[in-house]
Symmetry: C2
């Protein structure tokens, strides 16, 4: 049972721990009055803004432009691509009444669950010749998929995301785009979120509805489960044909375009939380932290304040001039210990404590969000040293997450060993052989609740080698990644 102020231990009840961290970090809350929705509170939204800014910059650097398409999609559009409608129909919300009257059935709309269909419609209008290609569009938007089992950030009826949509003259160009954007996601996850990921390909049954190929990045959460952190789809000519998106080739022939789509969502905030945080609460890598440094002045008497506040204000200004985001917590009526507690729960990477004695000695106490102890650093050198300390902390978190993943990754060759990993609610990243059939994939899931997360791309996971399926003993060309998943 959730108790305000308390964080359940990770080892005790991971889902409860996650909820507690989200609540105590003041990141979000379940909306309740709107089925499966949540409110993203300022501290949580500020993390999403950092994800947006980092990715948006990368999308623009790779030649993409942002645009905005309607929220509502005519029901007839959703039905045009056969696999697409099959995948999304059960999850859509439908508008049947608007402007004071009921809409006839052929004028009803669904709220976008994703925008391939409506964007396909406009691509058909905008693309005439090979000169119009590639067309590289991205959209930041809200989407809606009616979910029965929801969890904050990870699975909510409405979520925020970006969806890239591109059209190309050749399949090769489209495949290059799909791989390029997967690399953008993986690089961002690693270098900004400090989150190691495995790049791979989904099996046919896990593919996006309407795609011919889906690539993904998979991250390990601190309970050993996998979280799909981003996907990049090769749509082939499926939507091109459904929406009649044709172009004239340089040779004068008429062809359907080759399309891609790729997206990440607010679920990345959940991934960030479950990659780094601990039993004290949220831990944020400095590049993701809305507040990187909090300074707590230790001063009760007026005379102490007169001494301490000017030093603190100057330090804050100096740190800001180095590009750091700084909060001075000079709130009255709260003891330093209460403040420390609150900022730890909000995941602030570095805390600085400055009182009269520190000023006398010229050194301030600094404390990293994850470390065994405090250290003293000369106040005068803090502005010089902190950017480096934050960089080291960023690297430390990445290395720690990587080590955690390695420690919880196994190669397994028998089904007995395999089942043992997943029993009693456990999960690890398991590299093993399977025979490539849907039947075996379903049987594995059925027996263990673990799923094939991906077939690794070259250079990901263990060295490529042939082997035998753990379940059927049939031949396999390479090991795949299996885990329980969010």
């Amino acid at each position: 049972m959730a108790v305000e102020g308390k964080i359940t231990k990770q080892a005790e009840d991971f889902p409860a721990w996650y909820q507690d961290v989200v609540r105590e970090g003041d990141l979000a809350e379940v909306a309740k009055i709107v089925k499966g929705c949540m409110v993203i509170k300022p501290h949580g939204y500020a993390i999403w803004e950092r994800i947006q800014a980092g990715l948006d910059k990368r999308f623009k650097e790779t030649g993409h432009k942002n645009a905005y398409f309607p929220l509502l999609i005519p029901m007839s559009f959703i039905k045009k691509e056969a696999e697409h409608v099959e995948g999304f129909a059960p999850e859509i919300a439908i508008v049947t009444h608007a402007g004071g009257k009921d809409l006839p059935e052929n004028e009803q709309y669904c709220i976008r669950p994703t925008s391939e269909t409506i964007i396909g419609h406009f691509f058909a209008k905008w693309i005439n010749s090979y000169r119009d290609l590639p067309l590289l569009i991205n959209q930041w938007a809200n989407v809606m998929r009616w979910e029965m089992h929801t969890r904050m950030f990870l699975r909510t009826t409405e979520f925020l995301w970006q969806e890239g949509h591109t059209a190309h003259a050749t399949h090769e160009d489209a495949v290059n785009e799909v791989e390029k954007m997967l690399d953008v996601y993986a690089e961002f996850a690693k270098n900004v979120m400090a989150m190691p990921v495995i790049k791979g390909r989904k099996t046919e049954s896990e593919r996006f509805a309407g795609a011919v190929d889906t690539l993904c990045i998979e991250a390990m959460m601190r309970d050993g489960k996998a979280l799909q952190a981003g996907t990049s789809h090769d749509l082939g000519q499926n939507f091109g044909k459904a929406f009649d998106v044709k172009f004239q080739t340089e040779a004068g022939a008429e062809e359907y375009v080759w399309q891609t789509s790729w997206g990440v969502s607010t679920r990345l905030v959940g991934a960030l939380i479950m990659t780094h945080s601990d039993d004290t609460g949220l831990i944020l890598p400095p590049k993701m932290a809305p507040i990187q440094v909090v300074i707590v002045p230790i001063a009760r008497k007026e005379s102490e304040k007169e001494l301490v506040i000017p030093v603190v204000d100057k330090l804050a200004a100096d740190l800001k001039s180095k590009g750091l985001t700084v909060e001075v917590d000079d709130r009255e009526g709260k003891r330093p210990g209460e403040k420390y507690y609150e900022w730890e729960r909000k995941g602030v990477p570095v805390r600085i404590e400055i009182g009269p004695r520190d000023i006398a000695s010229g050194e301030a106490m600094i404390k990293l969000r994850v470390s065994d102890g405090k250290q003293k650093i000369a106040i005068d050198s803090l502005a010089e040293q902190l950017p480096g300390i934050l960089d080291e902390f960023q690297t430390f978190l990445y290395e720690r997450a990587l080590k955690f993943r390695e420690d919880n990754t196994v190669s397994v060759d028998t089904f007995d060993e395999f089942e043992a990993v997943f029993k009693d609610g456990g999960s690890k990243f398991v590299w093993c052989h399977y025979d490539g059939t849907k039947e075996t994939e379903a049987a594995i899931k059925d027996k263990t609740k673990a799923t094939i997360r991906c077939i690794p791309l070259d250079g990901q996971g263990p060295a490529k080698e042939e082997g035998k399926c753990i379940l059927t003993g049939k031949p396999s060309k390479q090991r795949v990644l299996i885990a329980k998943a969010y």
Copy 2:
């Protein structure tokens, strides 16, 4: 009739001119297949991104934090504030089916037309004590109001906006917030959009549904009509009472909070277009322009290209290092004249032409989007000079818009004069006396289609003086601003 490639003259048919400028500037297009919606194309969206960035910075500097609330609002919420439901009920879109089944009537949702109600619900959960106040929240979101008569950017069924929502301990604090955010809008309009505005107060009949007071900024478009460019509402305790948002005062009493809301939308893009553009197409102030400088290399032969391209590339790099956004248009298969034409229609403030002769003379031809001629400037000094030239151009556009407004503003004391201003589809900004009654306001609108745009705030419009209503002759305390409006 709209013809691809052609821009109707402003003087001939202003609405057609507007549509042509939007189309030829590649800013947006009517979605058609989604009633009253539009697609914001990359060049139009990039302008919106600049509006977002400029305002978001200002909101944060004034202590506001972004958050995100659900798109769907329970129907019961909309009905809680009596005037609010009366204002918005006719315009809402309702979701009655989701997740594969029909929703019972008490579980139906509307797509937010604005978020006072749902945010009020959460404020009630978040606010307990005076220590929680002020609570200063902003949301960037899409909203939906089912409109019958739509026009791109100005009035669309779905639009993008920001909505600030704040709660305060006293009415005085709320009023200060309402005025502060109006000032933020006015400053942004002036200094970034180069758009002069009049700050004023709406009459009771033009107030936001549920507000006790609505302040606004009104801008003049190039047809003499007014466009409401932003509003800031004093909600009193109306939503506080409807959603039971109470707090304990410092003295220990229990009181309802005082709330405000304020917003601007993608309609600002329309305002920008109609403030500056001309018969050649879009004109953008440099601070709003996604591309501030375009460089067109003039080189056909390979030998010319070898000479020109390195100079152009170096210049582009130098300009970028000064913080300017630069596009080099080295497309093959298009003549320089075609390129000039295209960039003029896209509103790029400065064009630089560089060919072999320019390199020989050391001077390049530069052309401002609005000016009588071209001027030659030493290529070596362009990086130094262009930021200043762009600043001057920004100021020039503001001054020109201000002069246009002054030239089209009149003070009028008789109803004959008044009617003459608005006959034959005309409009100006008219300062005149009216008796302050709803009946007179309605009669004026009925007779002339002009509406009371605002009662000016102190220091706005002509000096305050008493007078007699132009229609009834009854006493009036001050002149108000009347115009036809978008």
